[in-house]
Point group: C2
Chain length 121, copies 2
DNA sequence: ACCATATGCATAGTATAACTAGGTATGCCT
DNA sequence: AGGCATACCTAGTTATACTATGCATATGGT
């Protein structure tokens, strides 16, 4: 006799939903990180995992970075000198900054929509 | 001689990005609307178009509503009595409310991540 | 010396949801 | 009669996150 509202099922549903919800916004988060300082894949992954407190598989990250380069949002250069493995550094471009601004505006837009639909004045 | 930063290209990129960014969140917005009062497709579409100030094609809306019903987030019933075309009313379920709560939490989570990465204390 | 782990990059294939482009039908206005 | 708003639906396309791999170098423990 309990009032447990079967959260195990919604958990499964939520877990399926989460990756869908991230679509597009990872690009925004990446640009946000790179807007402060250039970085390389593995490093940025670590930063984002902390900030988002979530996993970030490499199969998600690297293809995304390549698309961003393809679209001219970031520039890349290899650093083969530093002791460790060669690192591919990503630097945000002016076009990347423009995109970031638009994305952030969109996010704020959604915040307001949430509040509006919530009934907040 | 001007400093125009070619926003037409980023516009095209942004327009391609937007639908990806909406993935998952439309479900959240829909649940939010239905959490106050039951509604039917066409009506809710109008509400959301206003609140989001964006288009919401029917080819997006109706399949989404069906998925939500399939997943037990909403219940449905036909209203064939009222004068106009038959309307399919959607009512949020307890499970739907649970999902909505989790989604909103996730959104707040992202807000904090944005601020953190932005450098806000 | 050896092996596990961490670092660092990459891709092929799968799943999912938003969208495009169509379809059906009723009621209202001129 | 014709056009428009209302009201629902679906087949097919596209883009992205993820799974499961693969490769290579550096580092730490025994």
């Amino acid at each position: 006799m309990h009032m447990v509202m079967d959260s195990s099922e919604t958990d499964a549903l939520f877990d399926k939903w989460q990756p869908q919800a991230r679509k597009g916004w990872l690009e925004c988060f990446l640009l946000l990180v790179l807007s402060h300082e250039r970085g390389y894949g593995y490093q940025v992954a670590t930063q984002l995992r902390e900030a988002l407190n979530a996993e970030l598989p490499e199969g998600t990250l690297y293809p995304l970075l390549r698309r961003m380069q393809r679209d001219g949002l970031v520039d890349t250069e290899w650093d083969t000198e530093s002791g460790s493995n060669p690192r591919k550094y990503y630097t945000i471009t002016p076009r990347g900054r423009l995109m970031l601004e638009k994305m952030r505006t969109e996010f704020e837009h959604w915040q307001k929509a949430m509040d509006t639909l919530e009934g907040k004045p």
